[in-house]
């Protein structure tokens, strides 16, 4: 059937500069560029271009430009180009529109409407280069009170504190499974996490056996509805276990890794036959209630001898704060909440772009709810979905989060340009692919260095902003909304965020 969709990008090649090295042809897994021997020049097929900019960046002569096409449908505020084209594709195939990465729609980004405080005159600010700043964070349940025992004038803490994760900086790598991302990308995250004193999350694709010894100590292993690659050894080699209930990019639905991506190595890690669809059902079929969730939380605590904190990850949706309260009461040590803008390797676009709530509002409501119920100490909150810079992190913490997960940000550090074609498995950057040729483009040493650099830079910026507020420990900022003010927000938004307007 003739497709009525025209190309999204135009490819401009400067023939003067082009040295016909055919590098662009090799770089593009989508097959956009090819050499025409008759015309003796390189030609490009814009229909195939994903706009990932790989050829642009790797052209040794800077001869290529990829731009949005100037062709247009008659402008129509209701029928945007995206709406028209998605509809046409569905009319042509009868399929669900699939996409990758996070929600790209213009929902209000609250981070950009919140400003931070700084010290002036009445309390001195602190210079992090000169004075110690405490970013170290403990994630897990804290006791309601501490019993202290005096022994011959020596003070001892008599209360047994449950297992906690110690992170040197409140930035963790979000769940991205081996299978969705390449082995090199997965290993880069693990390497950087161990190096930077933080944790990576395996997602639901298991943890390759050869990585367990070296990287288990910095791994949060996931137990999701598909239960892939899970055995007692997987659970016990890790620092913590996370039950994945939902994901911000696709709340309420499961996922499936298409059989094409289930290579022998991915199959071995997930422990499923090569080439079969790896299907994660929408719910966990052993969890239909908070009581059932509690049963799985305690099954995992039993399976790990009560030595590891258990996290539960949910997507931020309506009424999720009440669910969060149930999760804490069910015995979770950590709640991870994933907001509307959370990324994914593949999600139906209708769901990605329309389901869930922004993370900023979610952090504040959950923190407030747990505080009001007097159970905030029983679980830590990790916020995910839309963290783009250090300022977002510090605002998240002031709104009540203990730490943040970064997913898209970590991928961008490794080379991702958010072309949203993750689900094709043809990632030219070697990140979201199982093709050995493409995967080899991602060098673990370089990618992990880029990730460590990012963590280092953001941590330092967080210290600078903290110091500017006259605070020397992140702990003192947690849930401290007095340090935030809103700009350009409605009254209800300020109420949900629990902050005052700027100038108040």
């Amino acid at each position: 059937m003739k497709s009525f969709v025209f190309p999204e990008f135009q490819i401009i090649r400067d023939e003067e500069k082009c040295g016909q090295c055919r590098g662009c042809e090799r770089q593009c897994a989508f097959g956009t560029h090819s050499y025409d021997p008759v015309a003796d020049r390189l030609i490009s097929d814009p229909y195939k271009c994903a706009g990932c900019q790989r050829c642009v960046i790797f052209c040794p002569k800077d001869a290529i430009e990829i731009k949005p096409t100037p062709s247009f449908y008659r402008p129509n505020a209701s029928w945007s180009r995206e709406k028209l084209e998605d509809l046409k594709k569905q009319a042509e195939t009868g399929g669900v529109i699939l996409t990758g990465c996070g929600n790209d729609k213009p929902f209000r980004i609250y981070w950009d409407h919140i400003v931070l405080n700084a010290s002036q005159v009445t309390n001195p600010s602190i210079d992090p280069l000169r004075e110690p700043m405490e970013l170290r964070t403990f994630l897990g349940a804290k006791p309601d009170y501490m019993d202290i025992k005096m022994d011959n004038g020596e003070m001892e803490i008599d209360t047994r504190v449950g297992p906690n994760l110690m992170v040197e900086t409140p930035i963790l790598f979000s769940a991205m499974s081996y299978g969705a991302i390449s082995y090199n990308a997965f290993r880069s995250l693990a390497t950087a996490a161990c190096k930077s004193g933080t944790f990576f999350n395996t997602g639901e694709g298991g943890l390759p056996k050869e990585m367990r010894g070296e990287f288990g100590r910095c791994a949060i292993v996931q137990v999701a509805s598909g239960r892939f690659g899970i055995d007692a050894e997987y659970l016990n080699c890790a620092a913590a276990v996370e039950i994945k209930v939902g994901q911000g990019a696709k709340p309420g639905i499961g996922g499936h890794l298409p059989g094409e991506k289930v290579s022998p190595a991915v199959a071995a890690t997930r422990m499923i036959p090569t080439g079969t669809d790896a299907i994660s059902p929408a719910p966990h079929h052993d969890i239909y209630s908070i009581e059932d969730l509690s049963m799985l939380i305690y099954a995992l605590k039993e399976a790990t001898n009560y030595e590891k904190p258990i996290s539960v990850k949910i997507a931020a949706v309506h009424n999720f704060a009440a669910i969060g309260s149930g999760i804490v009461r069910a015995g979770a040590d950590i709640i991870a909440i994933d907001g509307l803008r959370g990324g994914t390797g593949a999600a139906p676009k209708a769901i990605r772009d329309n389901v869930g709530i922004p993370i900023e509002l979610a952090i504040s409501s959950l923190d407030r709810r747990l505080k009001n119920e007097g159970i905030r100490n029983r679980a830590s909150i990790i916020a995910a979905g839309g963290i783009r810079c250090s300022a977002d992190i510090i605002k998240a913490i002031a709104l009540g989060a203990d730490a943040v997960y970064i997913g898209s940000a970590a991928l961008i550090a490794m080379g991702c340009n958010l072309c949203q074609k993750c689900y094709t498995g043809k990632c030219n950057w070697g990140i979201c692919t199982q093709d050995p040729r493409l995967e080899g483009r991602l060098n673990v040493d370089i990618a992990s260095q880029r990730l460590s650099n990012l963590i280092h830079a953001w941590s330092h910026e967080v210290s600078e902003m903290l110091g500017g507020m006259g605070i020397n420990a992140l702990e003192s900022l947690r849930g401290n909304r007095d340090h935030l003010r809103g700009v350009g927000l409605y009254e209800w938004e300020l109420d949900v965020l629990g902050i005052k307007g700027a100038g108040e």
Binding site: G95, G226, E233, P258, M271, I272, P281, A299
Partner: protein
């Protein structure tokens, strides 16, 4: 008896007898789930290979906390009624229940064997990837959901009676056999919905309306008969008191449920 005292007394007994203690009994009366599992773990680490639990009444996760890096194995005999999630994440141990079991038996089990001399509840063998489960009587809803297999790991579930709805939903591997003994008729609906691997054998017959759209109902071939012969024999050896006649059972009508495709959702998307 406190945990430390218990472990100590066991250790003492062991040193007195000068040999490894092969079998230990625990009276589970008034023990909480955690206390009972503490003791089992201590015994495993002390090298005990066989434990008898008496008066078990609702304690959960029996067998779950028995992971050891050395992959120690234990045999646990249970008298009474164990609670939910019996043998969840089981890592190669052997469990025999002289009585009924509740929900979640063998949840995400990896290896080992469970024998229940009675019935089992819902969500039996959920996401099980290896090992064997033999249930003498009937089982509840959502049995063998998303059961998997990988290379030499091929889980087996044999049920003497029948199951309720949603048997083998999302099934991705493994072998499930329902024997329908005692004239039990298979009345479960939605069998094998979303199935994309593995095989289910039912003794007796079912209507096409009882299975999901991804399932093919077919008669047995020689390979199927071989599989059935092997596991029916194993089932009978676990329950000798039933006095079953294998040839009699095997000559009856069986049907096989298998997936139409390994990729049931392959054509769902517009790229």
């Amino acid at each position: 008896m406190a945990r430390a005292q218990f472990a100590e007394s066991q250790a003492e007994k062991m040193s007195r007898s000068g040999e490894r203690m092969d079998e230990v009994e625990i009276d589970a009366t008034n023990l909480s789930t955690r206390e009972l599992n503490d003791r089992l773990r201590d015994l495993m680490q002390a090298g005990v290979e066989s434990v008898v639990l008496r008066n078990v009444c609702g304690q959960r996760y029996i067998g779950t906390r028995l992971y050891s890096p050395e992959h120690r194995k234990m045999k646990i005999e249970i008298f009474g009624t164990p609670g939910n999630d019996l043998a969840a994440f089981l890592f190669g141990h052997e469990i025999i229940v002289h009585g009924n079991a509740q929900d979640g038996v063998g949840n995400t089990m990896d290896a080992g064997e469970i024998v229940v001399e009675g019935r089992a509840g819902d969500v039996l063998g959920f996401s099980m990837r290896g090992g064997k489960i033999f249930i003498r009587d009937n089982v509840g809803y959502r049995t063998a959901l998303h059961m998997k297999e990988y290379e030499e790991k091929r889980p087996v579930l044999v049920v003497g009676g029948t199951s309720q709805d949603f048997l083998g939903e999302y099934m991705a591997g493994g072998i499930v056999i329902l024997l329908g003994l005692g004239g039990k008729v298979h009345k479960g609906n939605f069998m094998g919905t979303g199935m994309h691997g593995g095989v289910i054998y039912l003794r007796g017959s079912i209507e096409a309306s009882q299975v999901g759209g991804q399932v093919e109902i077919s008669p047995l071939d020689d390979n199927d008969r071989e599989i059935l012969e092997r596991y029916v024999s194993e089932f009978m050896s676990r329950f000798p008191d039933l006095g079953l006649n294998k040839d009699q059972i095997l000559k009856d009508e069986f049907v096989r449920l298998s997936p139409r495709s390994k990729r049931p959702y392959g054509k769902l998307y517009a790229y």
